[in-house]
């Protein structure tokens, strides 16, 4: 996950989310983005690895899983 992002790429992310933000609002968020991207880098780099095609990464369960018990 790149921590820097071009104005065009950032605008594309905002457009994909469907948020009608003003250019000034987008610019302010883009300033913050590198610090948030650092959080994403940590998540992606943490064990179990999710960016590498490892057996461990493929077998990793998320913390929220479906349960079939009635009412759950």
């Amino acid at each position: 996950m790149s921590q820097t992002i071009s104005e065009e790429a950032f605008a594309a992310l905002v457009a994909r989310a469907g948020m009608p933000l003003t250019p000034a609002q987008c610019a302010a968020l883009q300033d913050v983005w590198p610090r948030f991207a650092e959080m994403l880098r940590q998540i992606r780099g943490a064990a179990p690895a999710t960016m590498e095609a490892t057996l461990e990464g493929m077998l990793a369960e998320p913390a929220t899983t479906f349960a079939a018990e009635e009412g759950r």
Binding site: L13, V14, A17, G18, M19, P20, L21, Q25, A28, L29, V32, W33, R35, F36, E38, M39, L40, Q42, I43, R44, A46, A47, P48, T50, A60, E61, P62, A63, T64, G71, R72
Partner: protein, 466 residues
């Protein structure tokens, strides 16, 4: 009893009411008097229901005279964070988006507390939808810290922190997704417990992030938190995350001390990962010494870094929060205050793979925490890095700069308690955090109560009370 009379704890008031030495009507009037005198400065309430409270107090008085009290909460002045659904009373999340919304039903915990006999004074300020604050662009101002109204309360249960510290109520509800009970409890100098995930129902409470949200009580003392938790806790089939577990007696262990307990000091959290100020460090070390003197074993433990927990929690929280508020974010995001809008927008930029990577990391962090704490019963670390900052100096992006101490235990879902640990050079409260194993709230409360009652901090109230 006048507004200037010393403010009783819930336990003290309950004993006096049971002995017919204190009337719920008098107690409620004293609280309403303080609301009238102080809330123009503190902005703890965003909806005051004085007449409803007076009627409930009179009903409690009649009932108690006839049948005796239902329990220790009968006739106790109380208020709810304004994300708790209250039938017939506005529930707004402190947001323009829900201004004027009135639920048809009470949240489960609101109903539980009402059945226990509380006298509800109204609804308390929160950061917008428990995430955006302190904000000055909402229909209501942010709550102010009673110890110095120029300073921050912490959030998001900001109104509850301020109201309890100033004696506007004797207890209140909070919610905690990344620390929103423990942070304002710390900065306002009161006690707050985030119970185990699933211990208290979230049904009818506006969500922020369903896999991290916890409901729980805030009060002046640990014992009062135990009393409130007793009424709030319990299985609720309406909440899919509710734990079908028996509810223990949360006060049973209070007064039994800490002899034999094994306490893990998570020194790297508050010395390396996010260094606290000198006074807070003295408070934590003092607590560790106290527990040793009282017969507990204190040893250092190493958990995954605070940064890892915070990254995991914020990615999950912002993704889940965006999904809750997506309709407004796509239609008219300026309906929100700027802080909430901008934070939610970050959530809108995440992918499904980002979210699931965070949930996989969460499972790994929980496993690592369980392994590192196998030989201890409780954890001790900071709750805040120091005293409350000025409210106009709080950065909306602070969570990106420094990890907080509370978030790890939202990730794990473990119960955690913040307790006042003295006062700093600025005269504002300091705090420490104790953490228990899942569903071990009685032990956690026992240790917190032992620390609190051995120190003199509960004798001091904010100077503005006069």
């Amino acid at each position: 009893m006048s507004a200037a009379t010393p403010i009783p704890t819930i336990a003290e008031a309950a004993a006096a009411i049971a002995a017919r030495r204190l009337s719920p009507v008098e107690l409620t009037e004293a609280c309403l008097g303080r609301v009238e005198r102080l809330d123009g400065t503190l902005h703890a309430f965003i909806h005051l229901d004085a007449e409803g409270a007076r009627a409930a107090a009179r009903a409690a008085e009649t009932r108690i005279a006839r049948d005796g009290p239902r329990g220790p909460l009968d006739g106790i002045p109380f208020a709810h964070k304004d994300i708790y659904g209250t039938a017939g009373l506005p529930t707004t999340g402190h947001s323009r988006v829900l201004q004027g919304s009135v639920p048809r039903e009470d949240a489960t915990t609101v109903r539980n507390l009402a059945e226990a006999g509380i006298v509800m004074l109204g609804k308390l300020a929160t950061h917008e939808f428990a995430l955006g604050g302190p904000s000055f662009d909402l229909p209501w101002p942010p709550a102010r810290n009673p110890w110095n109204p120029e300073h921050f309360t912490g959030g998001s249960s900001s109104g509850t922190g301020a109201a309890v510290a100033a004696g506007l109520v004797l207890g209140g509800t909070g919610s905690d997704t990344a620390g929103s009970i423990r942070l304002p409890a710390s900065l306002c100098g009161i006690a707050g417990i985030k119970p185990t995930y699933g211990r208290c129902s979230r049904a009818g409470v506006l969500p922020l992030s369903q896999s991290l949200d916890h409901t729980g009580p805030m009060a002046w003392t640990v014992e009062d938190c135990a009393i409130l938790l007793q009424a709030m806790a319990g299985y609720d089939p309406v909440d899919p995350a509710s734990a079908d577990r028996p509810v223990p007696d949360f006060r049973a262990g209070l007064g039994q001390g800490v002899r034999g307990l094994r306490i893990g000091l998570v020194r790297h959290f508050h010395e390396r990962d996010h260094p606290v100020d000198a006074a807070t460090l003295v408070g934590i070390e003092g607590a560790a010494d106290f527990f040793r003197r009282e017969g507990a074993e204190v040893r250092e433990v190493t958990l995954p870094g605070l940064d890892a927990f915070n990254a995991c929690a914020w990615v999950i929280m912002l993704a889940e929060a965006f999904s809750i508020h997506e309709a407004v974010m796509r239609r008219e995001p300026d309906q929100f205050g700027a802080i909430l809008r901008d934070r939610l927008a970050l959530g809108g930029l995440l992918t499904a793979a980002d979210y699931l990577a965070a949930q996989k990391t969460r499972r790994a962090l929980i496993a690592a925490t369980e392994a590192a704490t196998a030989e201890v019963d409780l954890l001790l670390t900071a709750a805040q890095p120091g005293e409350a900052a000025r409210i106009d100096a709080v950065s909306p992006w602070a969570f990106l700069d420094k990890p907080n101490f509370t978030t790890p235990f939202n990730v794990t879902g473990w119960p955690a308690l913040s307790v006042c640990a003295g006062f700093g050079a600025g005269g504002l409260p300091l705090a420490l955090q104790l953490v228990g194993k899942p569903f071990a709230e009685p032990m956690l409360l026992r240790a917190g109560h032992a620390y609190e009652t051995a120190h003199g901090w509960r004798a001091r109230r904010p100077a503005l009370l006069g």
